[in-house]
């Protein structure tokens, strides 16, 4: 063994490398595969057609999330009016039963968005390899787990072999120094990072988020950060283990207990990059310079600070960039130079695997301050990330605050993050959304998505347009 300092990614990779093929690719052992209804049916079918068993049943965990309706949940399957969607959710249920896979089914209080459910249950643990047929699997990297989104053929491959065939990615360090200002969250940080890196900036790399500002983030914040690593093109995002990680996992249903816990904790504490480990690329960002972010375009890299304006394609030197900016502004119906605070919104979506955990709902509710949603806002949805988050928010009184302000309080699922279920954006509508993608039509045909933090979305709901929540906090201090 060489004593060369290793990155966290190197360590997890090495501890899962089953073997290396003569062509340079490795067989990488997978500890946990999360399954949902959209990308698993073809994989289960492939397995069945070939007469292959699941390699390791207990390494799989499933829940329906993309298609489930967020209202009328008590009806279970009967609440799904779209027959094709119903077939997909029922197929997941059947497959899980046929193969013996544990599932938090549609009526289970633990059901929710797969990337919220895994960590909440303690199923995601440090040092693991985690896969899911879903690009936002990167969320689980917050636990120093190597978590990657894969395609359906790979889902089937993992089902049958418990392995991925992969070549190792490069190491990318995103170092965030200093501290985030009041009112600025992990979501703003990750949007600012993507704005800097671009949507392909980390392609072929695994990002490790490092630095003081990262250490200060809660697990919820770290999940938000790692969640959007894929939006910078990265294969995965990672945060090293510290007390915050250990404390979060302790006592969760899937977490080890007793002596096994001590043994696990000792190992988990080693899951940090060694001093002097070399990264292939790095950027450093000063957290204190980041303002609350709002996306103005049709790609997550198209973001600006709340105190900024919509950019002008004429100022851009790169022809392709100018053209995509122009196309984005046309789609979004925005003018170059327009103030971000002048963008009005008629729909609000607080939810998704990026921002639907309890901390997110608390931050959003804190912006209500007894107000009501603005008259130009036709619908404001709050969709908790899981049934357990929902229950907790109800117990804390957050749900009632949302309802009193005119928000709709829904059941857990992906909802309007991608609008596969009935929650969709209408043509031309501007939406303040806490989700992760502002692609054309992502939230509904012709819909216009602005990615923001939960607090920014809630403040936009109350004001009818984006506001600098740093100012309103300031005003409140003065008034109080």
């Amino acid at each position: 063994m060489s004593s060369k300092p290793k990155t966290l990614y190197d360590k997890i990779w090495e501890s899962h490398e089953v073997g290396r093929r003569s062509d340079g690719n490795s067989l990488l052992y997978v500890d946990l595969q999360l399954l949902h209804e959209v990308t698993s049916p073809q994989a289960f079918e492939g397995l069945q057609l070939a007469g292959r068993p699941l390699w390791r049943v207990d390494a799989n965990l499933a829940t329906p999330d993309h298609n489930v309706p967020t209202s009328g949940r008590a009806l279970g399957f009967d609440g799904i009016t779209d027959e094709v969607a119903l077939e997909q959710v029922v197929t997941l249920d059947k497959n899980c039963k046929a193969f013996g896979v544990q599932q938090f089914e549609i009526l289970d209080p633990r059901q929710g968005i797969v990337h919220v459910v895994g960590p909440e249950q303690g199923a995601t643990m440090p040092g693991m390899t985690v896969v899911c047929g879903d690009s936002h699997t990167s969320t689980h990297g917050a636990f120093a787990a190597l978590a990657q989104g894969i395609g359906t053929s790979e889902v089937e491959h993992v089902m049958a072999t418990q392995c991925l065939v992969q070549n190792k990615a490069k190491n990318f360090a995103v170092i965030v120094t200093g501290a985030l200002s009041e009112g600025v969250t992990a979501k703003d940080l990750v949007l600012a990072i993507i704005g800097r890196l671009g949507t392909a900036g980390a392609t072929g790399h695994t990002i490790e988020y490092r630095g003081e500002a990262i250490r200060q983030l809660s697990m919820e914040g770290r999940m938000t950060l790692c969640n959007m690593s894929i939006e910078a093109g990265a294969r995965a995002g990672l945060v090293a283990v510290d007390d915050t990680t250990i404390n979060y996992i302790h006592g969760r249903p899937f977490a080890p207990k007793g002596e096994l816990w001590n043994q696990a904790e000792d190992y988990w504490r080693t899951l940090v990059s060694d001093e002097g480990a070399v990264f292939d690329a790095s950027i450093t960002i000063d957290a204190s310079t980041i303002a609350p972010q709002v996306s103005w375009g049709t790609s997550p890299e198209m973001v600006a600070g709340i105190d900024d304006v919509v950019p002008d394609p004429k100022d851009m030197k790169d022809g392709v960039q100018a053209e995509s900016t122009e196309r984005a502004l046309t789609y979004m119906n925005l003018q170059p130079g327009q103030k971000i605070t002048d963008i009005a919104v008629s729909r609000i979506f607080i939810g998704s695997c990026t921002n639907a955990r309890i901390e997110d709902l608390r931050a959003a509710a804190a912006q209500i301050r007894g107000g009501k949603i603005a008259s130009n806002v036709s619908e404001a949805l709050v969709v908790p990330g899981s049934g357990l988050v929902k229950a907790q928010a109800e117990a804390e009184g957050l749900a009632q605050q949302f309802i009193d302000a005119g928000f709709q309080w829904r059941s857990a699922g992906c909802s309007m993050c991608l609008g596969m279920n009935p929650d969709q954006l209408g043509e031309g509508e501007h939406c303040a959304s806490t989700s992760n993608r502002n692609f054309e039509g992502r939230q509904g045909y012709g819909g216009r998505t602005h990615l923001v933090s939960p607090a920014m979305a809630a403040a936009a709901a109350i004001n009818g347009h984006f506001v600098d929540i740093r100012n309103s906090q300031h005003q409140e201090v003065e008034a109080g």
Binding site: E87, M125, S153, A264
Partner: protein
Amino acid sequence: MDAFTTLNGLVAPLDRANVDTDQIIPKQYLKSIKRTGFGDYLFDAWRFLDQGTMGMTPNERQINREFSLNLPVYQGASILIARDNFGCGSSREHAVWALKEFGFRAVLAPSFADIFFGNCFKNGVLPIALPEEIIDDLFKRVTTGLTLSIDLRTQTLMDGEHVHIFQIDPALKEKMLTGMDDIDLTLAEAELIRSFEAGHRQRQPWLFRG
């Protein structure tokens, strides 16, 4: 999987950077539990002016006559040229299924997003990364009905008199040429996996629930 050795085909352009898989195949078509039936909805929001739903055929739709893939000169194209970071966003393999069913067997771009790139190789669709200048040049000449020949064995792209050599990971090349099944290949190493697993269980017993 379908093997890929050579392809001689007409080229169609898609002149946009960062084309994401939500554009390649929008979410309303992801509800199928099959691997087929997605070709009609490829680039749906760009090919059609109306909002489609699953089950509708192109004949029932309002065609966007201005969109490149709808222009007469590109009908029957099997090679797509695109810009940087093609296939970013969602991991949906449906994007590759849709491209293939529509008729594309190769995509040429300066760069691809990781997951999409991998998904192509699972389905016999060849993604070729080429220098920006070459792609630019192809975009300039595509409008008159350009055909290209690709030979994966020699890693060459014949463009009239010009021959471009492209790079490809040797393992992926082999897989495409033979069309062999990944799972069979890995299961040939089942013993190795089992012995790794036994050691892994000893080192990190908390990872095993069964």
